[in-house]
């Protein structure tokens, strides 16, 4: 099993930093954005940003695994 590349792991860390470790920075009511308390707004925003970042990770990871996939397709 090839371990994931450093770049992919760093990308994967971004959502963890933004929504988990930094909780004391964003868990507050103000400023209100689009009518939402800031903590609700922040986490909803990251529901949308996380797929974008992981799409980047997917693009990075896909060429590395392409060789394996051709093998699978041939075998399957």
């Amino acid at each position: 099993m090839k371990p994931p590349s450093l770049g992919t792991i760093l990308l994967g860390l971004i959502p963890f930093i933004a929504t988990c470790f930094s909780v004391s920075l964003w868990d507050r009511i103000y400023p209100i954005v689009f009518g939402l308390p800031f903590n609700f707004f922040w986490l909803i925003l990251w529901l949308l940003l996380t797929p974008l970042i992981m799409w980047g990770a997917y693009r990075l990871e896909e060429p590395r695994t392409r060789g394996d996939r051709d093998k699978q397709d041939g075998a399957g």
Partner: protein
């Protein structure tokens, strides 16, 4: 027709349609163990999405999210925190798990441990812990199902007969259709649940407050502390949030049913793509929160927070609409219970019963034992749900914290050469011991930390230490060991 007759008729029709689809889904496939458990390993993006979403959006998230928003406030945000992150974790671990699954024809999580660590006993231990953790989770679905029918029938049907009928249907359709039937019923309930959630989530704040923004404005005026952590609780603050989000995002795919769902994929790419898009599905979760938060001001006297969504729907909309929401909820509970039964039964038959008691059994006989086990688990869960109604949340937490203890064995098993069978044994034993001690003695959170994460960290340390101290056993057929490390 009275209101309760209208809602119950609609719920019955939806359940009937769902079950019919489940039964029909099998028609073109020969039902061997491989087809029954992992759908012949032929599911593409949409099917895997349906299956995973179907399993992940359970009664607990559906009723529990609005319930926590109502009763606890801010701490409910942990759901929005861990859901995207568990998909990030799945991006890294599920594709290699799938890879190993294809290579060694794995069907269960215990198969993975058995093959990677070359030990039937480790496989059996993982199966045993998995089945034990599944029973309370199954019980939660049943209780949810009973609650929905009780509220929707305006108290006319007691929850126990409702649970028994619902579970009878589930057990029958699991035995007949296997994982493919479940994926199709998931499609129906997802469409229903999604449209109901989106509609209710926007409509309720609008009807009572004029919009989501005004609902929040009213809540900030009345109870600002409800909207940030620790909300109405004492201990669920920021340390608890971080440790819980970490535990849930690492531990979620360690549930045997979610782990095994990855084997249904056609290739590893399907799983990676799924991990990328799944967080978008969580967009419905805040809508559930909005309903629970509206209920804080509209129905402040509810005894049970888990009833806040259903009670708001019943108060606000006509009976037929409560029927649709209730039907979606019942199908959700059924799909979730079905996949839990399927997983528990296969784990028991394949990884406990056969290797320990009857090693010469054929796959066909294993399939038969598994189908009998569906009945046994059904009866066990119904009796548990009937006799113990209290502390479902603590049972669920204990189950989640329990299965999370598989995480070091999975991750190190995939990416490290140095980890040994003895190390993983010792780590899992330590982790489970700590979970049971801390949670049973009421020490969760422990010093502000989620008890499951305390156990998981100790588990990692012990796995590492024992692995360094024990000699490495090279598994038969070297390819189970990571190549590039």
């Amino acid at each position: 027709m009275s209101s309760s007759a209208v809602t119950l008729t609609i719920i019955s029709i939806l359940v009937a349609i769902g079950s019919l689809v489940g039964f029909l889904a099998r028609s073109h496939h020969r039902m061997d163990l491989e087809q029954w458990t992992v759908g012949g390993r032929g599911f593409g993006l949409v099917f895997v999405w349906l299956l995973m979403a179907g399993e992940i959006y359970t009664t607990f998230t559906f009723l529990g999210a609005s319930g926590w928003a109502y009763s606890k406030g801010g701490p409910v945000l942990n759901i929005l925190g861990f859901q995207p992150l568990m998909y990030v974790v799945s991006f890294f671990i599920l594709p290699p798990v799938w890879e190993m699954g294809r290579k060694h024809k794995l069907q269960t999580q215990a198969d993975f441990f058995q093959t990677r660590y070359n030990s039937v006993f480790l496989g059996a231990l993982v199966a045993l812990i998995g089945v034990i953790c599944l029973i309370p989770y199954l019980q939660i679905q049943l209780t949810g199902l009973g609650l929905i029918v009780e509220v929707a029938s305006f108290g006319a049907i007691h929850r126990i007969p409702a649970m028994i009928i619902g579970l009878g249907v589930v057990a029958a359709f699991v035995s007949v259709s296997g994982v493919r039937g479940v994926a199709w019923v998931s499609l129906i309930k997802d469409v229903l649940l999604l449209s109901a959630a989106v509609f209710v989530g926007f409509a309720i704040p609008r009807i009572y407050f004029g919009g989501i923004g005004s609902m929040f404005a009213a809540l900030i005026q009345a109870k600002p502390s409800h909207l940030v952590m620790p909300g109405t609780t004492k201990y669920l603050g920021h340390t608890w949030y971080i440790t819980t989000v970490l535990l849930m995002s690492c531990g979620f795919y360690m549930w045997p049913q979610y782990f095994a769902a990855s084997f249904t994929a056609k290739n590893a790419r399907v799983l990676r793509r799924n991990a990328v898009i799944m967080p978008l599905y969580s967009v419905t979760m805040p809508l559930m929160f909005f309903v629970g938060l509206s209920a804080v001001l509209v129905l402040p006297q509810l005894g049970n927070g888990d009833l806040s969504l259903l009670s708001m729907v019943r108060k606000t909309f006509p009976a037929w609409f409560l029927g649709i929401v209730g039907g979606a909820g019942v199908l959700t509970a059924m799909v979730t219970a079905a996949i839990q039964l399927l997983t528990g039964a296969t784990l028991y038959a394949k990884n406990l019963f056969r290797p320990m008691l009857a090693p010469s059994m054929t796959d066909q006989q294993v399939a038969r034992v598994a189908k009998m086990m569906v009945l046994v688990l059904t009866v066990a869960a119904v009796s548990l749900a009937m006799y113990t109604s209290a502390s479902l949340v603590s049972l669920y937490l204990m189950g989640s914290a329990g299965v999370a203890q598989f995480f070091p064995g999975v991750v190190l098993g995939l990416f490290s050469r140095r980890v040994t069978t003895a190390g993983v044994f010792a780590g899992i034993a330590t982790g489970i011991f700590i979970v049971v001690t801390l949670i049973w003695t009421g020490r969760d959170p422990y010093l502000g930390w989620n008890a499951g994460l305390v156990a998981l960290c100790s588990n990692f340390v012990i796995t590492g230490l024992v692995s360094v101290l024990t000699p490495q056993r090279t598994p038969a057929g070297n390819e189970t060991v990571p190549e590039s490390l």
